[in-house]
Amino acid sequence: MIFGYPLLSVVIWLPILFGLLVLATGNDRNARLARVIALVGAILSFLVTIPLYTGFDRMTSDMQFVVLHEWIARFNIHYHLGVDGISVLFILLNSFFTPLVVIAGWQVIEKRVAQYMAAFLIMSGLVNGVFAALDAMLFYVFWEAMLIPMFIIIGVWGGPNRVYAAVKFFLYTLMGSLLMLVALLYLYQQSGGSFSILDFHRTALPSLNIQVLLFFAFFMAFSVKVPMFPVHTWLPDAHVEAPTGGSVILAAIMLKVGAYGFIRFSMPILPDASHYLAPLMIALSLIAVVYIGLVALTQSDMKKLVAYSSISHMGFVTLGFFIFNAYGIEGALLQMISHGFVSGALFLCIGVLYDRVHSRQIVDYGGVANKMPVFAAFFMLFAMANSGLPGTSGFVGEFMVIMGAVKANFWYAFAAATTLIFGAAYTLWMYKRVIFGAVANDHVAHLHDIGAREIIVFVILAIGVLVMGLYPLPFADIMHTSVNDLLVHLATPKVLN
């Protein structure tokens, strides 16, 4: 409580309150009012997170901006919030994206505007809650509650096959979460009746078998969200059917929640199981990087292509985590932030095309550059960033993870580095087919270039991508101490033999 008020509570509840306010504007007659309130709310919610960055103490790995109240005394559950150098970045990223999503849906969403905007604002608050919660039950509540607005967003405003996608998304993620709940209850018992995540970090779990079981319970929850290789199939469906804003939030924010779970729960709580199962995790990550990269190459639907590219990039993140060195973990975290910018931007680009032509198929396009030069330029930048071009944000994280992987095992690095080829291949090939060439058909011939509203969004994202690519220090700097602390946890075995 650095400014005399519970900053993190404001960060969580302000967007939710604005969401309820938007909801109160009622039906579509007041659509304009709903949009304005939503935008004001989203921008304010972003502004209140800035003190988290400026007031952050980089010298300590302790939790900062801590808020602690008793919540459910009977189970010793607390309303316990706090951030370290890892979670603070994701709160900023999330709050940064909310206004962009509101702007992106400004004209496109015409039915039930208030509910759409409210769902995003409420979700933004809940996601902040996930990143800030230091009590496992509080975390779990935010984690699950987050599903409800996303379920509605996909199901109401999504594409033709939206119901299937929404239900699949919900049940997949719920399955993982429920097993995590069992693990949390077990840890509650082992820790002597505390749900504090920090107590879990110190809880002795001397049997490797138990740790492995718990690891799989957490793994079910987090790997589905990331998503990792065998449980990734919900993501392309959800992405394809979700409205643009939904895809952006899914890719930029939701996937990070799963990876964050590994860092906050699996690795520090279960260090021995993490080491023991690291080969499996690395194998799954590399399969995601290579195999899913190849799958992306064959996609004919742009959204699906970017969705598979997301899975492949997230494979890099989990790879970075489980090689257990500072390069890997910091690189993975940077990759998460960068992927947030880049995939969000790419989904917005596809959204721009989809709004005009109502098709996501690559074959329906060609020669877009002739009609939309400004758009083509932005799209170019983001496509380059997605393929990891030096100077863009995509490069920094991938490079660091590969460096970390070389330290662990040359062949890991070798396999991971193929992404630089595949990533470039599928992204640029898609770009070439959509943007270059002669004007393909009437639809493309009637395209008009992006307007001021869209340019603002793209400029903001472009700045993000370039700044992070050229000068990543502010991002890396803030997480440094916390990552070292995590490595200490990982290096301290709980099994003694």
Binding site: I72, R74, Q115, V141, A145, G155, V156, L171, L178
Partner: protein, 482 residues
Amino acid sequence: MNLLSSLSPAYAEIFLLTMVCVILVLDLFIANHTKTLTYLMVQVTLLGCSLITVSTHQGGIAHLFNHMFVDDLMSDVLKLLTYLAVSMMLVYSRTYLMARGLFTGEFLGLVLFATLGMMVMISASNFLSLYLGLELLALSLYAMVALQRDSAVATEAAMKYFILGAMASGFLLYGMSMLYGATGSLDVGRIAQVIQHGTPNKELLVFGLAFIVAGLAFKLGAVPFHMWVPDVYHGAPTAMTMFIGSAPKLAAFAFVMRILVEALQPLMIHWSGMLMILAVLSMAVGNITAIAQTNLKRMFAYSTIAHMGFMLIGVLSGTVEGYGSSMFYAIIYVLMSLGGFGMIMLLSREGFEADNLNDFKGLNQRSPWLAFMMLLLMFSMAGVPPTVGFYAKFSVLNAAVQAGHIPLVVMAVLFSLIGAFYYLRIVKLMYFDAPESHEKLYLQPDSSLLISINGLAVLALGILPGTLMSVCAVSVQQSLLH
């Protein structure tokens, strides 16, 4: 101490019995078709009961009528919630029943008799009084289901309910008689003492226990004794279904507590295993079968079966923690079930039952507020935070983990995942689909207000569940301090 004041723990029951008689007689002289006066008198009676229960509450445990009757914190809490549930049920069902010509003095009388039966069950500390309360409740319910004389399904449902219910009572009585034979007593506390310190015939005890558990399972609707539940839920008029599916679950919880925990705690090792089988089967059959239903009332019937299975997990953990969590679960279940059936009745009109899944299509476009309330109720039944249904599941699962039943817990969460699907389907129908009819909804102000309170309570209790949890835990703890 004179006789009158020594009866103070039972004042509420005595008052209610007197009022039923008065209301039944007075009702004969009220020609009014809408029965407003009778209705108001019933509500006032329930209010009076709650005031009496609160004002006659004393800290400890009071026994009455030769240990036939007990008054403790658990019974007071459960009784208060029973009054509340009955009163809510009346508000929800008034218009619905009036439209069908069922809102009669007899109905209201039966409701009060059933309430009295539940109160006796909750406060009984002797097998005789337990059975007396159970039968008073059951007979009133049979009659309520049969009240719609011209409906073939309702009559069939009543018949099934009666026959199977009578059989279950037979089971219970048989089990009780064996326990009596083994221990020489019908008193709950005495039986526990004899089993613990005496040398009763072990075979007879366990044999009797098996019959008692079967009878209880019948009454709760746990698999494999669940056959009556879907038919009765489906066939009875929705208001009666709501009644069967709400307050009696609280009484049933008390019943389980008094018999299994207070009388047969020493046999826990035996009944815990039996309940485990019942719980797993109930969750499996309930959740899987519910998916195939197209009728909402039938779906709720199977969902009740699954919920009862979940509630049993708390009991079979065999700890004070577990009993408290089961009590919490029962209370929360009643709250959600009232809301769910209330919504069906709210959307029904004269000659039209909104009990088909398709009737909920596009509700969000017809009434966003109602759709939101139903969304809260459905997510709560599915156990998704931040609604209170999650904490109900959470506390039960926690008790089971503490008792070391990890495989059971894993099974329970997997079945509740299956369960989430059909609750989700309702949300899907309301939000994702287009409405089948754009007919304007005629909403009664009293029941729409109540459904809003009900839905928001599910959310509010989900955000601050601590108090109710503690109340349940403390009351169970106190009533076990003999």
